[in-house]
Symmetry: C2
Subunit: 141 residues, 2 copies
DNA sequence: GGCATATCTTAGAATTATTCTAATTCTTAC
DNA sequence: GTAAGAATTAGAATAATTCTAAGATATGCC
């Protein structure tokens, strides 16, 4: 799937600074947990994984770190129906496939023309800053 | 936009029966409220509108009715990020445009080929029963 | 029609994910 | 080294939804 490489701590600080935010040990660990296992974890799951490295971190901080990473465009939020928000460090334009049987989520790469084509369906005057595509179904076992 | 016509109470009963569900006065009112104003209301908003006709209905029943209508495929659920679930009686395949400025939601008709084309992006073995497309941005005033 | 059974409705309690609050700690700039 | 602004923390608060248990309604069968 060709994952986005993890950026260096210095680059992370830069990205955060670009949105007026500071880097912290907590944010570094949260980021590296996300990049380390790209299975679209929930905040709770991130919390559990981060605690392995940093047992004193709090859930509120995990939420705060995730929000910071979303704000500086290093991570995207993904929602399925009313389930808990999931976090995705894949910045390439892509769709999501949500397997109803297992609950797993897969990234689906999209040819770049497709998003353009979709935007062209909008009536004139509608300007979409973001297009989200979600498939729901079953993946072959 | 060519709205789906409201079906008759008898047809509603039939549709419900098809999913092993009964028709009730509450379900009829909830359905007609949804078809009457297709602005993608939340359960709370539906509750408020239904109370005009049926002041004794409870919120739990509104949730129950909405779920029944979703189950028998007369209504679709729509979610934006973590906001409350919204309900849409438009059964034609369509996308949603979510206006970030006003919070309003608009249906966007899609040419039928487009959904097929999207499904073709899936790796073999992935079978999508549903494709959801959401635009986020601003509509011209 | 009358009874048994299953479904539906209701009010309120419970749950879940998330955000808020206030106190403390950490950074950064001067 | 101190002041000011950010970030972290634990726990309380919130919002949407689901659950629970009771009563009401409807349906099928004799």
């Amino acid at each position: 799937m060709e994952p986005t490489a993890q950026i260096s701590p210095a680059a992370l600080s830069q990205k955060l600074a670009g949105s007026g935010l500071r880097n912290t040990p907590q944010r570094e660990v949260v980021y590296s947990v996300l990049v380390g296992k790209r299975d679209h974890p929930t905040a709770d799951e991130v919390f559990a994984r981060v605690k392995a490295d940093m047992p004193t971190i709090s859930l509120a901080t995990v939420y705060n770190c995730l929000e910071a990473l979303v704000q500086c465009n290093l991570v995207r939020q993904v929602n399925f129906e009313r389930g808990p928000t999931r976090y995705c460090p894949n910045l390439h334009p892509h769709a999501h496939f949500h397997d109803e049987a297992t609950g797993s989520t897969y990234d689906i790469d999209l040819p770049p023309g497709l998003l353009e084509q979709l935007r062209n369906q909008l009536p004139s005057g509608y300007r979409a800053s973001d297009v989200e595509i979600t498939f729901r179904g079953r993946a072959a076992s």
